[in-house]
C-alpha cells in the first residue's frame, strides 16, 4: 500500500518536472527566436548603408510590394469605406447627428483602418511571397551559393526588401485612405443623400494633417514589422517544401498578430505625443 503510494508520488513528481522542462523549452525557444529576429533585422538594416548599394534591387522590390498591391488595396478600401460609412450613418441617424458621419469615418480610416488594413493586406500578399521566396532559396542552397560567391545574402536579399517595404507601405496607406473616403463620399452623398458641403466641411473642421501623418507613420512601422518577420522566417527555413510552407505560414501569421498588437500601443503613444505637443486636445 505504502509502496504503491510512493510510486504514485514519484510519477507525479516526474510529471511536474517534465512540465517545467517543457515550459522552460517554450520560453527558451520564444526568447531565442525573438532575439535572433531582432539581431537579423538590425544586421540586415545596417547592410543597406554598406557598399555596393543595391539601388536596382530596392526599386525592383518597391515595384513588387507597391505597384502590384495597388489593385487589392483599392478594392478593399473602396468597400471598407462603403460599409463603415453606412454603419456610422445608421448609428448617427438615431441621434440625428448625420452631419458627423464624414469626420467620424475620416478619423477611423486615417488613424486606424487605413494603416492596419494596408499592413495586413500587404503582409499577406508581399510578406508571404518574401518568406516563400527566401525559404525556397535557402532550401535549394541558393543562399549558400550567394555566400560562397562572396555576396552577403542579408545585404543582397533582405536589406533591399525591408527598405523598399518601409518606403512603399505608407504610399499604399495613402491610396487606401483616399479610396476609402471616395467610397464613403459615394455612399453618403449619392446614395444616402447627405449634403456634400456639410460632409466635407465637417471633415476639414475635425481632421488635421496630423491624423494622416499618424497613419503613414504607423504604416511604415507595420511595413518594417512584416518585412522583417517574413524575411527572417524565410531566411532560416529548413526541411524542404514543408519547411518553406511552415516558414511562410508562421511569417504571415506572426506579422499579422504583431501588427495588430503594435497598432494598439502606437495609437496610445502617438496620442500621448500629440497631446504633449499641443496638437490634439
Amino acid at each position: 500500500m505504502i509502496q504503491a503510494w510512493l510510486r504514485n508520488r514519484e510519477r507525479i513528481n516526474e510529471a511536474i518536472d517534465q512540465t517545467f522542462v517543457d515550459l522552460w523549452e517554450i520560453f527558451h525557444k520564444f526568447f531565442f527566436d525573438s532575439g535572433r529576429a531582432c539581431i537579423f533585422t538590425w544586421e540586415s538594416v545596417k547592410t543597406i548603408f554598406h557598399r555596393p548599394f543595391r539601388i536596382d534591387e530596392i526599386f525592383k522590390h518597391m515595384e513588387f510590394v507597391g505597384n502590384r498591391s495597388v489593385l487589392i488595396i483599392v478594392l478593399t478600401s473602396l468597400f471598407t469605406g462603403l460599409a463603415l460609412s453606412y454603419q456610422i450613418y445608421l448609428g448617427f441617424k438615431l441621434v440625428n447627428a448625420t452631419n458627423l458621419v464624414g469626420p467620424t469615418v475620416g478619423l477611423g480610416i486615417f488613424r486606424e483602418l487605413g494603416p492596419v488594413l494596408t499592413g495586413l493586406l500587404v503582409a499577406a500578399r508581399a510578406g508571404g511571397a518574401m518568406a516563400a521566396r527566401l525559404g525556397t532559396m535557402r532550401v535549394s542552397e541558393q543562399i549558400d551559393a550567394l555566400e560562397v560567391m562572396g555576396v552577403d545574402p542579408k545585404q543582397y536579399l533582405v536589406g533591399p526588401r525591408i527598405l523598399a517595404t518601409i518606403l512603399v507601405v505608407p504610399l499604399l496607406c495613402a491610396i487606401f485612405d483616399f479610396t476609402a473616403m471616395m467610397g464613403a463620399h459615394f455612399l453618403c452623398i449619392n446614395v444616402l443623400g447627405l449634403d456634400p458641403a456639410i460632409f466635407w466641411d465637417k471633415i476639414a473642421l475635425w481632421l488635421n494633417p496630423g491624423d494622416i501623418y499618424q497613419g503613414m507613420i504607423k504604416a511604415a512601422v507595420f511595413g518594417l514589422i512584416f518585412s522583417a518577420v517574413c524575411t527572417n522566417k524565410g531566411y532560416y527555413a529548413s526541411g524542404g517544401a514543408k519547411g518553406v510552407g511552415e516558414a511562410t505560414n508562421q511569417g504571415v501569421v506572426n506579422s499579422m498578430v504583431l501588427i495588430i498588437i503594435v497598432n494598439s500601443f502606437m495609437t496610445n503613444f502617438i496620442r500621448f505625443y500629440y497631446v504633449m505637443m499641443g496638437w490634439q486636445k
Partner: protein
Amino acid sequence: MSDEVAVRIRDLKKSFDGKDYVLNGMNLDIPRGKVTSIIGFSGTGKSVLLKHILGILKPTSGTIEVLGRDLQKMSMPELIELRTKLGVSFQYSALFDDMTVMENVCFPLREHRFSLGQKQWEEIAARKLGQVGMESKHFHKLPSELSGGMRKRVALARALALDPEILLYDEPTTGLDPILTEVVDDLIHNTHKNHAGSTSVVVSHDLFAAFRLSDYIVMLDKGGVLLAGTQDEFHKSKNELVMKFLSKGLKQG
C-alpha cells in the same frame, strides 16, 4: 610544404547540439593542383566538412587553412576576397531561378569584376558556358527550362566564372542517370585539365567516379579520416570498412 597544400585541416571538431560531434578531431591535407575525392557513407560529415572549407559553418574547435590562410582569423572582407578564389558546384546546382543562364554566369562577375562592364561580362560568361558544352541557344533560358544535366553545366560555368584556384563539387552525380554521370565526370576531368594549376575537390559517395577521376582519395568515417591516399593505397588497405566500401562501390559502378 604549405605551397603544396590547398586546404589544411587540423583537429577539426563540429557539434550542432553540444553533445554529438559530426566532425570529431579531423586532420586532413588536400594537395594543391590535384583532383581529390572525399568519399564516405551517408552521414559521415562530408557536406559539413565542405561547408567548413567554404567558411559557411564555423568549427566548434580546430583550424582550417585555405590557400595558406586561417579562416577563423579572417575578417568578413578578407573572407569575401578569399571566396572569390573558390568555385562551388552545388548538389542541386543552386542556380538563381529568377535569372537566365547568362545572368547566372554573369552574376559573380557583376559582383567582383564590376569595372569590366556588361559587354565583357557576357563575353566571359559565353566563353565559360562554351567550355562546359552549353550551346548559345540556351543562354537566355531560365533554369526551370533546362534539364538536370544542363543545370549542372551552368552551375559549373558559374563556378568557373572568376577563374577560381579551388573548385569544389558537392555530390556532382547524385540523382543522375549512368550516362549523364559519365558526362559530368568527364566535365570535371576536362575542366581540371583545362585550368592548369587548379585544385579540384569532389565530395561524393560515388566510389567508381572517385577512382576514375582522382589523384588522391580521402575516406571519412565517424567524423574523422579513415584513410587518405592514392588509389593503390586504397587497394592495398586491409581496413575492413575500406574493403567493404570498395567491394560494394565498385560492384555498383
